[in-house]
Symmetry: C2
């Protein structure tokens, strides 16, 4: 499999998005966001998305040169308007604003309205953790999750992410998860390989639980994680990231409605020293980590890993050895580049 | 089955807790909290707990007359010290403080340290919703959840609860859930009836997934909901409600360590008008509710229900027709009353 360096991949993505019409700064922030996901091994949110992004841009779903700005700051809160473009720059601005607010007020609580896909949620909560703060976010997404009792999708898989800072030199504990039982990527892969999926992953067009990967894929109907629990959390996510921020929600979200500004986000930064000293917080987290990592392991488990630890190791490996890009994806990206008249992938 | 009125049940619980040693105000707040759970049909958190509570009190795990106080208020944040008693009064004080802070600053973020069991989380987020605010909370609990990869419990099932206020006269959307796949109550019931449990609910003492209800019960080992997702959320819960608030966490939590002050909580109130007007928020929530309730229903489903709607209906029915208390539980409670020298249950 070909390997690309992160800069090669980022420059390629930036050229493609720029040629599709995104203003340079936005092409750069989106490209960097996609490659950040590839680096962590979250390839579903990496340059694989370029085809879809170009289609969204060409479909008029994305503002090309949006005015991303802080609408207001008030106490611990602020609102960012994404101007109908992609969510990368707005979510960065929102978390950076939340960090400033948390430094002053112990907590920063920032909404983003009128946004779009922001890539991998981990990117933004990591900014908080790198600043020594706890980061939390939630976002709406296109409505692909079937709430408990329904036969059709109504809510998004509304990813949530948390980053917990640790004493140097330890990387943060990082949880980044969607509220569907599995990501579409897993169902897409099973369909491509003609394999059935387990009951409990998705539904067919009639809203029946299905083992037919193609049927679930065609219906775009995912099961919530943990049944009614994930369903309830996804509904709450529509309210927090959608209704509360003044963004579309539910069936009006995102690409489903083929409109710009169809996504909302909510980002929070919390000072670990809000109730205890930073030293006490850090010592507590290390004690918890010790408990988690030294617990008796289940049969066949060689090491206990913290949330985000696999991704961190993948990032170290990929920074050193490059990012694997399948021949199939490389061919697709080369075709996209050719159509847009930009230089072909450097790693091909 | 005998039925008790809510006041009968509350007065009985108050007498029992008072006779066990709790100071009158704390006996009253705990009794009211337990019966609030019975009213909503959350009987696992109702007067069923009295036997366990009395054992905890007699075991010296609970401060009898704790000094529950706000340690400080600073901007949008405050810290409550529970003084080592039960969590009912401290969690109420914390949410009421969060409500005041949210009225002034749009968000109120309040930690509770040195607390204990607070009953049903719904009670506290409902206070926020009744004040027109969004309520959110999380709490530590005794370590009964086996994190992904482990063979033994390390973290709590760390319940989380959200309440979303709606336009009058609609009751709030209310999500109150633990991060275990199922509650112990379900496993206890299966064990009592000699039924197996599905794989994925719990583990045996060797950390192997088990269908043996008694084995899971003996190991006190629950599976996290949604596998690594619930596991990750439970770890985050230990940090937010435990480490951050200066309370015990992980293996040091709660009854496991038979110490007072073994539980921490974190409560938040959010003004729905922080980013949009209240009218816009309310209209958005109603539109989302319409989408959820008018979606095509799955086969065999007669009505689509919002989170918390069943519990609300149960409460209406039980306020009108009384709270069913099984003969078995009534007998147990009568024995407890006799031992403590208080009047027997009025409904027996």
């Amino acid at each position: 499999m070909p390997h690309a360096t992160a800069p090669e991949l980022r420059e390629f993505a930036e050229r493609v998005l720029g040629a599709a019409g995104l203003a340079p700064a936005h092409a750069a922030s989106a490209a960097a966001g996609l490659v950040a996901a590839n680096l962590r091994g979250v390839d579903s949110h990496g340059v694989l998305r370029l085809t879809q992004y170009v289609a969204s841009i060409e479909g008029g779903e994305i503002e090309l040169d949006p005015d991303v700005r802080v609408v207001f700051r008030r106490g611990s809160t602020a609102l960012v308007d994404a101007g109908g473009g992609y969510g990368f720059a707005p979510a960065q601005l929102a978390m950076d604003t939340a960090i400033e607010l948390a430094r002053e007020h112990a907590i920063g609580f920032v909404g983003v309205r009128g946004s779009h896909h922001f890539g991998m949620g981990a990117s933004y909560v990591l900014r908080a953790a790198e600043a020594g703060l706890i980061g939390w976010l939630t976002t709406t997404s296109q409505p692909v999750v079937v709430p408990t009792g329904s036969a059709v999708p109504v809510v998004g898989n509304n990813p949530i992410a948390y980053a917990i800072p640790r004493q140097a030199p330890h990387p943060p504990i990082l949880l980044d998860m969607a509220l569907s039982e599995v990501a579409f990527g897993k169902i897409r892969l099973a369909a491509a390989e003609g394999r059935p999926i387990p009951l409990g992953w998705g539904f067919d067009a009639q809203g029946r639980p299905t083992t037919d990967a193609s049927a679930a894929l065609a219906a775009e109907a995912l099961a919530p994680t943990g049944g009614h629990k994930g369903s309830g959390l996804a509904i709450v996510g529509e309210v927090l990231a959608g209704v509360l921020t003044g963004s579309p929600f539910g069936l009006a979200s995102h690409a489903h409605a083929h409109r710009s500004g169809g996504v909302g986000h909510l980002l929070t930064a919390i000072d670990p020293a809000v109730f205890v000293t930073r030293e006490e917080f850090e010592a507590g987290v290390e004690e918890l980590v010790t408990q988690l990592k030294s617990a008796t392991r289940a049969e066949g488990v060689s090491e206990l890993l913290l949330p985000g630890e696999i991704e961190r190791r993948t990032e170290e490996a990929r920074r050193a050895g490059g990012i694997p890009v399948s021949d199939e994806l490389t061919t697709k990206l080369a075709a996209l580049a050719a159509r847009l008249g930009v230089e072909p992938p450097a790693w091909a």
